[in-house]
Symmetry: C2
Subunit: 225 residues, 2 copies
């Protein structure tokens, strides 16, 4: 099958989560060459980086991890500060919101991609799974794409293949791509547990997606190293 961007290479943001694994599988079907990029930004659970490495190895693509020391310097949030409790109150931004995070991640990824010669960046941000994060919406990504193209003086494209998909739909996309088994290498749990805690908001959202598809999560059947 002819790939949509036969002549182009892309950088995939690989966090080690389920959505980034789906993006990687999608990118391999879409671009002639793919490399992956992750961030170590003081997140509580380094297990995410391990998952990203395993996924890249499985997909036989390069993985590069950039260390971002400045994010914890910007203020408290529940993803980087172990003393900050994960909560979500109605009409409030969740405590896991890291202000500016997707601006930083996507603009650093685009600049890194630009330096490698890639004009395409793929990210798993998803509006339907928005859960209060303003920087997961399409209008934000569109505005940032324009900003980055102006800043770098060359057209950059931010691809968001999962933007309008529900969790169940992105699981089906992965199934169609024939890579469902890759999910065994992903990490989702906010508590950083493997096997997952099954109780945090992230685990619950993941389980709901698989239940909806009538599928068993490959992570549940994976060796729990």
């Amino acid at each position: 099958m002819r790939k949509k961007h036969q002549e182009a290479s892309a950088t995939v943001l690989l966090s080690g989560g389920q959505d980034s694994a789906t993006c990687l599988a999608w990118a391999l079907e879409t671009f002639s060459a793919v490399r992956t990029l992750g961030f170590d930004y003081g997140q509580r659970h380094r297990i995410e980086c391990e998952s990203a490495k395993r996924l890249a190895k499985r997909a036989k693509v390069d993985y590069h991890c950039l260390k971002l020391d400045f994010i914890p310097q910007l203020g408290k949030n529940a993803l980087t500060d172990p003393n900050c409790h994960i909560t979500q109150k109605e009409n409030e931004l969740p405590s896991t919101f890291v202000p500016g995070r997707n601006v930083f991640f996507l603009s650093i990824a685009a600049t890194w991609a630009y330096q490698q010669g890639d004009a395409h960046v793929v990210t798993g941000v998803c509006q339907s799974d928005y859960s209060g994060y303003p920087d997961c919406r399409q209008n934000f990504v569109t505005a940032l794409q324009q900003t980055l193209s102006l800043a770098l003086d060359t057209p950059m494209t931010l691809h968001t293949p999962l933007m309008q998909l529900s969790k169940a739909q992105s699981i089906r996309l992965m199934q169609d791509l024939g890579k469902l088994d890759w999910y065994a290498d992903t990490h989702t749990c906010y508590e950083g547990k493997r096997p997952p805690c099954q109780n945090c908001p992230a685990c619950k959202l993941r389980k709901k997606g698989f239940d909806h598809c009538g599928l068993v999560d490959p992570l549940d059947a994976a060796p729990q190293a």
Copy 2:
């Protein structure tokens, strides 16, 4: 005199250069409260940070410096790599161009400002002094302002008081603000020299501005510690 933004506080990006000093003086006349932010990003000349500290002390405002380790990881450029020579060929981006720099600086500054409760950020980027930097143009700043407001889910304003001014005009602005003597504390020279080398493109541009105004640069008369 009533200030234009009587009720608002602002964060000024203070690099220690001439333009950032002018922005600081402008902000003090414009906002009810001002704080300043600088970046240590592995630039060749730490003398810039020292200049920023002196300026903040003189203006009696807080100065905070964030360490950005990731910029040198993104690739070679003449501002962070001592082995990279400063050059400018016609129709090419100058070797001092750090791709993505103003996206990073302004989005990190806006996020830091947001965490402090400021909705205003002041920066000395200047289109007339563009010299090949695509991320110094107004269309870029306008696009980024919209992107940041979407990402943070609250209106953020990026002020660029020098955008359309020539070097001579911004020197006159500083004179009108009664703070010309602050320039003694600024740093401009690409070679990191104090007294300045007077030969690099940055020194030449600075000298041209003062000559045009018929003024002596206070830096030339300053104690050369």
